[in-house]
């Protein structure tokens, strides 16, 4: 059974939710592109195109989708590492896009990120101790010996020997580096962590170690987490709720158990059917999607999934279906699911 607090089944409200830690409303991010030097401006990649959801306290929300679906951009917008084209992100009822530099710095203590590639996200010239102490110095937390003690405590927490403080990133394996990435995210006691593909560059035997660690710290610190990944097995394992994205949109959002057992959107169905199962005797119904993801520049009319949908009907071309609740707490953007 799913552990953790009961999730609200309320539909998404117009403004920020009173109870949620994080409310994302009508978030959009369009990247301008030019073709060639004198190319016609005004073309835009619809990376994130009207995304809304709530994240409850202590909840892990899985954000899944294939490359280019906008899941990472959504994660970066939530932390305001990118400015949106439009829309709001409310963190504890405060729209973070209205925060000035000073306020934003204070907010950043509460919201942290874990990156995919622990090789690229650690400064190779800084010792692990210096890397972990840096946020404490920036946020003027404690004196030197208190900070050092905190760093040692964090390393222990993530399963590393505290005596590694004087070592450099290259001396660690990928799994250990990701543990350091987790420690760094925890340094300032955040309330929210966005984990962007945190285990996808790790070997299979190491992935499980890091997943277990993330679950442990989530429990211990009652963290809320957005877990971005393309691996649907891992997302199923770690998430309370799951949002499936396609071409900049959430096409399905629901409790993990329900969504995996009874997917509502044909895209979710196809994704689940495409996961290879490590059991040669597993009985599968194959749904092979035709073609590739359409270009996010020239979005098709009507439903975005139309060109690849095995269940499409002519009515699907009439409107781009909104995300509507079909079962309690479980919504889909598909006219056939209604």
């Amino acid at each position: 059974m799913d552990a953790g607090p009961l999730r609200s089944a309320e539909p998404i409200t117009a403004g920020p939710s009173k109870t949620a830690l994080l409310s994302v409303r009508n978030l959009k991010k369009y990247f301008p592109i030019r073709k060639g030097l004198w190319g016609r401006p005004g073309l835009r990649v619809h990376a994130v195109d009207d995304v809304s959801f709530d994240l409850q306290r202590g909840e892990i929300l899985g954000l899944v989708g294939e490359s280019g679906c906008g899941k990472s951009t959504t994660g970066r917008l939530i932390l305001r590492l990118l400015e949106p084209t439009s829309g709001e992100v409310y963190f504890q009822n405060e729209n973070i896009f209205n925060a000035d530099t000073r306020r934003m710095r204070a907010l950043r203590r509460e919201m942290q990120i874990i990156f995919q590639d622990p090789y690229a996200s650690l400064n190779p010239r800084l010792t692990i101790g210096a890397t972990l102490e840096e946020p404490l110095i920036i946020h003027k937390t404690g004196n030197r010996s208190e900070r050092r003690a905190r760093v040692r405590q964090l390393l222990e927490k993530v399963g590393l020997d505290p005596d590694v403080v004087n070592r450099y990133p290259h001396e660690f394996s990928g799994g250990q580096r990701q543990r350091i990435g987790v420690a760094r995210a925890l340094t300032l006691n955040p309330k929210l962590i966005v984990a962007d593909e945190p285990v996808s560059s790790l070997d299979v035997s190491i992935q499980a170690q890091v997943i277990n660690l993330l679950e442990d710290v989530q429990q211990e610190y009652a963290l809320s987490m957005i877990f971005i990944a393309h691996d649907l097995n891992i997302v199923r394992h770690i998430s309370d709720r799951v949002a499936v994205m396609y071409l900049g949109r959430i096409v399905e959002l629901g409790p993990a158990t329900d969504l995996y057992r009874q997917p509502l959107h044909p895209y979710t169905e196809a994704l689940l059917a495409a996961i290879p199962i490590p059991d040669p005797k597993a009985k599968r119904t194959r749904i092979l999607l035709e073609g590739d993801l359409p270009s996010p520049v020239n979005l098709p009319k009507g439903c975005r999934f139309y060109s690849r949908c095995p269940k499409r009907i002519p009515d699907c071309l009439k409107e781009d279906p909104p995300l509507v609740q079909i079962r309690p707490g479980h919504s889909a953007a598909c006219i056939l699911a209604r």
């Binding site: 294939e66 499980a208 170690q209 998430s239 490590p278 059991d279 590739d292």
Partner: protein, 329 residues
Amino acid sequence: MNPAVLSIKNLRTQFHTDEGIVHAVDGIDLMVRPGSVLGIVGESGSGKSVTALSVMRLIPQPPGRIVSGEIWFNGTDLMTLKEAEMQKVRGKRIAMIFQEPMTSLNPVFTVGNQISEMLRLHLKLSRKDARDRTIELLELVGIPSADRRSKEYPHQLSGGMRQRVMIAMAISCNPDLIFADEPTTALDVTIQAQILALLEQLRERLGMSLVLISHDLGVIAEVAHEVAIMYAGRIVEEAGTEELFAHPLHPYTQGLLASLPRFDKSGGRGERLRAIPGAVPKWTEHLPGCKFTPRCSVAISHCAQQEPPLKEIRPGHRVRCWVAFGEQT
């Protein structure tokens, strides 16, 4: 008489580094039967890719060197061939598909050009015949409007389309054997399903054998007929696919299978994954016994002292583990 398309005997490939000799592939034996799919599973550094490159005799030398071994391919030991003879095997009779098609396709030539080049070189086709055959091949691997696509450059194609081009190139000379090294790892899951289905369909139709190298046990379970599990340059377990997944005997194989979260079986939040502790041994580490001992949950004292042989303990099922042999101490 040897019924196998490919039979590797006691292959050892080493790399000389500043920190010492790396035993990347350390005495492996493998066999690929005609028309079958052999899956090689391993994590980074297990030696699975070096095995493929050794067979193709593509190990950069120095620093690498094939120290010993026989590589029998359709009755010829590839190790005895001169480079010029090897070039006639490579690409023509044994082809390779890599993980990242963008790095193995030449960015300054159109994809059609690159396939035609292969056909003209290996099959001595005329320019016109090579062009026609190229279009046929692109159609065969499911590329829509093949004529137009053949005139495009690799960067104009999506990842899935590029991998289809790589496959078209690999099958262009009707090889007996294809090595596919993580062919779908860089692809999205729905595209991966398309490519795996395509490989399977082509293999059946053209009667090729396939060696599929992957870290993904799910992909292996779906495609391979036989599986070899590699760890630290060795094969630690080998069996038919159904047998291996039903009765994994090596603690490493068991650990890998147990550590995978599975959406079809998951208990969801709160359920702990059974992780394998520790990490793959460093190249420089010298372990006299079984290389998996430091991470093994069932290791006995014998394991650290002497390396177990690869031994058949169930019909067609070989494993390299003292505990699986029934040793107690």
